[in-house]
Amino acid sequence: MKRSPVSLALRYLGLLAVLAISIGPFLWQFVTSVKGPGEDVFVPDFIPDDPTLANYGAVADVVPVWSFALNSLGVASVNVVTNCLGAAMAGYALARLRFRGRRFAAVVFAGSILVPFEAILISLFLVMRGLGLTDTLTAVVLPGAIAALNVLLLRNAFLALPAEVEEAAIIDGANAWQRFTRLALPSVKGTLVVVALFSFMFSWDDFLWPLVVLSDQEKYTLTIGLAYLQGTFVQNQRLVAAGTIIAVLPLILLFLLLQKHFFRGVGEGAIKG
């Protein structure tokens, strides 16, 4: 089969066009964020005359962007730990332990996946108010702390492990918790990385729920802090741009480091609506 250089050139042309569409908007935002006060940000000029990082300092003067970032980081980190541990425990029980009521537990998790978050938004707010948790970061964490989808992902991972190893451990007298921590968990590392990454990303990016449950500015996560920044300081686009870059940079770095797992996660999580 021949491969003409023309078709290869066309392919690269197409790839470059899509590249410009995907990356261009980020680039423009970044360029805006490093333009100094003397430069007109409305002029479509992708090369700043006198690049400066001053806007990154200035944005912290108008809103506490670093404390927003810290709140987001805290919420996302807790989410990673609770999802990895809690979902793995539940997934292990569903996959590896025999007991009455397993069907009931499976139905609870499967049912939870089918409930769209937007449909329980208001009702969930009432639950948090009933618990006295509105306007706390705990309330931001709790609903997604152990996502049902992750339980099922890990259940499938545990089901795929061969039974023999564990049977040997049972004969050696290892109890369920020992088998879980020493044998099962280390064998599903790949899935755990995917769960950790996506828990971090969903939590870091979440907007609707923190918007509804938080009202005190001190508790703001980065996403609602940015929406607030835009609402208040839309006149100074440089600051908003700097804020956006602060919000997206950690994820881009994480993604560049662990992209293989991101792509795997899309495949495994495709059922999530």
Partner: protein, 289 residues
């Protein structure tokens, strides 16, 4: 016996508590509240179908329902087709392809808020896009000030953000299309366009149905894009509002009408459930073929 009878429940406890308390219970409660006049302060009497009667007479509901449906219908075709074309471009392992694939995925990892803010700036009346339009000899367009254009702009953002995600799903599916089908079609003299329609598309049909379903569900649930592009207002006079925007504006805060917001939530849920059932049916027909 390999474990005590209660051991499995200790493993399940955290997960079950979270799912029951923060998903299943609020869901059931939402259904109950939909038939009451509960307010943000609590209480609420059973009022039968009053909320739904009110909804039928509420012009805001009809605007939101129409916009959400329109959104769903409009984003599905581009989200089924464009990522497929991009996946076909990015499928062949030419030098540097990893960089391209990584770059195409970047909009997916950025949050809806970041994406919304970036596009608000791009589509601003004095923004980059309008500058280009003007340079080409056109007049500035009110992407964010006209309620219809705001909706269209938001759809464009949704599609832009979905390209990389669905591309990855298509890449996985394309890797499973048997090569000899393509070669056989080539021997028969089929050109690239013909091969696309008679080899690639039929082989990818289940994936296309999946992506159509995912993008339809997400389209109907749209919130962040519209919220940010409109600065939280739902467009001039609320004319670009969507179901989720309406639910959160009705149910939130001290004046929140929890009963009515729950009724709206129930409608949202029923529509999404309907979409799911249609998808399952389509997939089952697929299996029988």
């Amino acid at each position: 016996m390999t474990h005590r009878p209660y051991t499995p429940w200790l493993f399940l406890l955290p997960g079950l508590v979270i799912c029951l308390a923060f998903t299943i219970f609020p869901f059931l409660n939402m259904i109950v509240l939909a038939f009451t006049d509960a307010s943000a302060l609590g209480g609420g009497q059973f009022t039968g179908v009053d909320n739904f009667v009110r909804m039928a007479q509420d012009p805001k509901f009809w605007v939101a329902a129409r916009n959400s449906l329109l959104y769903m219908v409009c984003v599905v075709p581009p989200l089924v087709l464009l990522p497929l074309l991009i996946a076909m471009l990015a499928q062949k392992a030419v030098p540097g392809i990893g960089i391209f694939r990584t770059a195409f995925f970047t909009p997916v990892i950025a949050s809806a808020v970041v994406v919304g803010l970036i596009w608000t700036w791009l589509l601003d009346s004095r923004g980059l896009v309008n500058n280009v339009v003007e340079a080409l000899g056109g007049t500035r367009i009110g992407f964010l000030t006209d309620s219809t254009l705001l909706l269209v702009s938001s759809m464009v953002v949704t599609v832009w953000r979905g390209l990389g995600y669905y591309m990855v799903i298509y890449l996985a599916a394309l890797a499973n299309v048997p090569k000899d089908l393509h070669e056989a079609a080539m021997v028969d003299g089929a050109g690239p366009v013909r091969r696309f329609w008679s080899v690639t598309v039929p082989a990818l049909r289940p994936t296309m149905v999946l992506i159509a379903a995912l993008s339809a569900v997400n389209g109907f649930r749209v919130f962040s894009e519209i919220y940010l592009l409109s600065g939280g207002t739902g467009g001039p006079g609320g004319a670009s509002t969507t179901m989720v925007l309406l639910i959160q504006s009705v149910g939130r805060g001290l004046t929140g009408e929890v009963g009515y917001a729950s009724a709206l939530s129930l409608v949202l849920f029923v529509v999404l459930l309907g979409l799911l059932l249609v998808t399952l049916k389509l997939n089952r027909r697929e299996d029988q073929l």
